[in-house]
């Protein structure tokens, strides 16, 4: 037996034959850059999760400033506002996922999104929400950037130790800023 590098973080979480491709930060940056209608979904763990220089939420705000539309899930909205950042939208995670399965829907009504990036969402619920999109939103691609491999995404970071993840996140932000 082997343990595949990118095995689902939750051991029982093998969904079936189709699993996410493992993502390197370089590739992530490229995919984000070529996406035409990406959104970044920031979940309820954005506050308590730490990246190099503070909580994840501050980091996400920097992304938002780069022009990537940020959707704050309901429980995170207040924290964004507190920090003087107005997300592009705020919705319940379930509400958002449900609408994303409708290819005619988008945040601004200007055509379907093509890439959904997830950060700061509790593993078990994200896994299920990614499953919804995998099966029923074939028009878009999903990317999980938490440090835990999410097989139901199209692309996911592999399982990483905290420090490693922080480095990769910093590298990713840097790359995005550079280009």
């Amino acid at each position: 037996m082997i343990t595949i590098a990118a095995s689902p973080w939750q051991i029982g979480g093998t969904p079936g034959p189709t699993e996410a491709a493992t993502l390197k930060p370089e590739t992530a940056a490229k995919l984000i850059q070529i996406a035409k209608r990406p959104i970044l979904v920031a979940g309820s763990l954005t506050l308590e999760t730490k990246v190099s220089n503070g909580p994840l939420i501050d980091f996400i705000i920097e992304w938002g400033k780069l022009g990537i539309p940020v959707v704050a899930t309901k429980p995170t909205l207040k924290e964004f506002l507190k920090r003087g950042f107005k997300p592009s939208a705020s919705m319940g995670l379930s509400d958002l996922i449900n609408r994303l399965t409708d290819p005619t829907w988008s945040l601004d009504g200007n055509g379907a999104h093509d890439l959904i990036i997830f950060l700061g969402i509790r593993y078990p619920i994200l896994s299920q929400m990614l499953s919804t999109l995998k099966h029923f939103a074939q028009n878009l691609r999903t990317m999980s950037l938490n440090g835990f491999f999410q097989p139901n995404a199209d692309w996911s970071f592999p399982n990483m130790k905290e420090e490693e993840w922080k480095e990769k996140m910093a590298f990713l932000l840097k790359t995005l800023k550079e280009k």
Binding site: I11, G16, S44, L81, S90, T132, K134
Partner: protein, 783 residues
């Protein structure tokens, strides 16, 4: 159609002439007497079969279509499989993942209904044997409508135990029908699978009612009294110097025999009689001497403490590895149900002495006793005899041993990766090497006690025992109070709250039900309950949730049960009882439609559901979704139009029923006065919503209580809570207020300015308040 009822009255007839027939010397049991008493004309849907209420279901599903989150991309139900169904590929039987997920929901709701149906059946058989078929169904004083679900679904008004026989047969018949539809090559439409799942939910709820009414009647449980005794709950409440019997499961009839036996022998105080899960809740309804250890999440932990001298299992929610666990601590098991035989020798027919002897000597690690009346004596005698022998097992390993265990930890993370709720147990164990047990103590409260972490640990560290040890001091202070389950909601209470509820002045009923797979521990349920109590919602609770709520003290050091009264009224907290007592929560909604609004009840499902959907602000909170049973309870509520909010772990139930508030055409109702179609806003927005966090659930709860029928005064109050709580937790006014304001009079007074300007921004237009219905036939005058 006259309704037939089963009343097995036995009559001896010497000679009987009837028409041309002459019968002599015949003993007959009069089986079915054509209903005479004209209590209410029969409605359109007595004992509906699986397609009868399909059009109602389809109406709900049109507004709240299912959103699936497959837990598995494959299907393995028949020998053609596994079939990969990823992205709408079809399986070998032609099914796609949408229909298959719906089938999985049907299967699980049907399993839930079967578990409750069987629970009811077992109680029925035991109580029938013990008290006779003529036992009156007694739901207490101030209760005319004793069995709202039974009346609604079957058209039967039960007077004696025997009247439930036909109900049980109907339940079993429907369960077989529902299960059959899951077979390979049956149903092909996801909507029809969902309709059948609704049916399973309804059957489940019916079974709950049967079970609780007959046990209330037979065992003299509290019948709607709000001020039931305060019961000890928590591992810290037991006296470990006494022999201790621990009952686990849901069917209390075997455990009641223990109390009866002790009382007969006048020695109730000589033993600790304790319970876990719903059996505990129901034991406490029987005797205020019984103690409750806690919800299912405490099961393994408490067993590991070694304190139990005898474990009595009945059915449901029992750790299936319990025999091995009990052997570790040398505690014998008495299994009492054919639902869980554990491979044990069946000693039902043996004399008590032999059984006790086999258990005390360890000849068998446990026995199966299918005759409940024997269980009491066996359990008590075994406990007494074995307690001195197994003294040395009454403790978790000492701190030193545990640190030695922790030292084996390689920080491999695999325990966390196998934890269903992703608890950082790896770090907690790793840190315990240093003697710092704090993280373990923290996890003790969050942990659902499933044991999966241990199963994954290569160096075989007994992680749960570590937690138990780490929290040892804390556990000693786990002394809380829970109000014993009160059972049914009285007609008088319904009359009292009916008007304010329907008009909206009481902002809603919030029911905390279900299991303890909470994302962040039981404290969150308690916190939510407290918030709603402060806001004067009617808060009711059952089962494990009720126990979790008890294990929390407010600022004044009181449990919520001590701080709030147990009425079914605004700002009160009613522990209704065990899981089967959820029937009374759902029944209360039905009773409001019937008693307060005088809607015909008997076999009149659609109208009552339509009433609830459009008028009664009630929400079920399934914060720690786990078992198939809680899914089917919730699904039964759904069919009646009651929305359910599920905690994030419940995403593994794999489907939500979500509305989309921007789709105006989905939120239209008929105005029963005119037949006109009226937009009612997202009221309620969803039927099943999975909340990411406690705050989201709290806010969603307030919103889902909003109903089209609210008076302007009621809507003001509901909006006040919704907007206030939204602001508090999310920082803004909700972006859908304009959809929920029908006229300026709806606008909460205290927020007038802010909201009016928001409405303006949204180009809000006033709308009428209809007499709302989604049933065409309820329109009084057609246009």
């Amino acid at each position: 159609m006259p309704l037939l009822r089963d009343k097995t009255t036995r009559v001896s007839i010497k000679k009987l002439e009837a028409g041309s027939a002459i019968i002599e010397g015949l003993e007959v049991v009069i089986g079915k007497i054509i209903e005479e008493e004209p209590w209410e004309p029969i409605g359109p849907t007595p004992m509906p079969s699986i397609a009868t209420l399909r059009s109602w279901d389809f109406r709900l599903l049109q507004r709240y279509p299912p959103t699936y989150s497959p837990l598995c991309d494959m299907c393995c139900m028949c020998a053609i499989g596994k079939c990969d169904l990823t992205k709408m590929k079809k399986g070998g039987c032609g099914i796609d993942i949408r229909a298959h997920q719906a089938r999985e929901i049907l299967l699980r709701t049907t399993i839930g209904a079967a578990a409750h149906g069987k629970h009811a059946r077992h109680l029925f058989e035991h109580i029938s044997a013990k008290f006779g078929d003529d036992l009156s169904i007694d739901a207490g004083i101030e209760v005319e409508v004793e069995a709202p679900i039974t009346r609604l679904v079957t058209g039967i008004k039960p007077k004696t135990l025997a009247d439930f026989r036909e109900v049980l047969e109907y339940i079993e018949n429907q369960i077989a029908s529902l299960l059959s539809a899951t077979a390979m090559g049956q149903e092909g439409s996801y909507l029809d699978f969902e309709s059948k799942a609704f049916h399973a939910g309804m059957i489940d709820n019916l079974a709950l009612e049967v079970a609780d009414l007959i046990q209330m009647s037979a065992y003299n449980f509290p019948r709607g009294e709000p001020d039931t005794p305060l019961i000890d709950i928590g591992a810290g409440t037991v006296n470990i110097s006494k022999p201790l019997i621990l009952s686990i499961g849901h069917n209390v009839s075997a455990s009641i025999e223990i109390i009866d036996y002790l009382q007969r022998n006048d020695s109730m105080g000589s033993l600790e009689v304790t319970g876990l899960c719903c059996t505990a809740q129901d034991l406490a309804r029987y005797s205020d001497q019984a103690k409750i250890i806690g919800p299912i999440s405490r099961q393994l932990k408490f067993i590991r403490s070694g304190i139990a001298d005898v474990i009595v299992t009945d059915e449901q929610c029992i750790h299936t590895n319990i025999l091995q666990e009990a052997q570790e601590i040398k505690t014998p098991i008495i299994a009492t149900s054919d639902q869980m035989c554990l491979g044990l020798p069946d000693m039902t027919e043996e004399p008590v002495e032999n059984i006790v002897n086999a258990l005390v000597t360890g000849q068998h690690p446990g026995v199966l006793i299918l005759d409940h009346s024997k269980v009491g004596e066996v359990a008590v005698q075994t406990a007494r005899m074995i307690a001195p022998i197994r003294k040395k097992y009454k403790a978790v390993p000492d701190a030193k041993t545990l640190i030695e265990f922790a030292e084996k930890c390689t920080d491999c993370e695999r325990c966390r990766r196998n934890c269903p709720i992703d608890l950082p147990i790896d770090k907690a164990v790793y840190e315990a090497r240093t003697g710092n047990l704090k993280k373990l103590v923290d996890i003790y409260d969050l942990c659902i006690g499933c044991g999966r972490c241990e199963s994954e640990c290569t160096p075989n560290i007994p992680i749960i025992s570590l937690m138990e040890k780490a929290a040892e001091q804390k556990i000693k202070f786990e002394k809380y109070k829970i109000r014993a389950g009160r059972g049914i909601i009285k007609d008088t209470e319904i009359r009292k709250v009916g008007r304010p509820l329907v008009l909206g002045r009481i902002p809603g009923i919030i029911a905390f039900a279900g299991c303890p797979s909470y994302p962040r521990g039981g404290i969150e349920v308690a916190e939510m309950a407290e918030e709603y109590l402060k806001r004067k919602y009617i808060v009711v609770t059952t089962g494990c949730s009720a126990m979790s709520i008890a294990q929390y003290k407010n600022e004044e050091g009181k449990t919520l049960y001590e701080a709030y009264p147990g009425d079914f009224d605004a700002g009160c907290l009613a522990n209704v009882g065990s899981c089967v007592s959820n029937a009374h929560v759902i029944g209360a909604a039905i009773k409001i439609a019937n008693i307060f609004a005088r809607r015909p009840l008997r076999a009149n499902y659609e109208e009552i559901a339509d009433y609830i959907l459009n008028r009664i602000g009630a929400v079920v909170m399934l914060w720690g979704a786990t078992s198939q049973k809680s899914l089917s309870i919730a699904t039964g509520a759904n069919r009646l139009g009651i929305p359910v909010v599920i905690g994030p772990q419940g995403a593994r139930y794999r489907r939500m029923l979500l509305g989309r508030k921007e789709k105006r055409d989905k939120y239209m109702v008929y105005d029963a006065r005119t037949g006109e179609q009226v937009f009612i806003g997202p009221a309620p927005e969803h039927l099943v919503y999975i909340a990411e966090s406690k705050t989201e659930a709290l806010v969603m709860g307030t919103k889902l209580c909003i109903k089209p029928n609210d008076t302007t005064m009621g809507r003001q109050i509901k909006l006040t809570h919704y907007i206030d709580i939204h602001k508090r937790y999310f920082g803004t006014i909700p972006d859908d207020v304009h959809l929920l304001v029908r006229s300026e009079a709806d606008v909460p007074f205290t927020m007038k300015e802010e909201i009016l300007s928001f409405l303006k921004e949204k180009k809000w237009q006033p709308n009428i308040i209809p007499d709302p219905t989604i049933l065409k036939r309820m329109i009084r005058s057609r246009k």
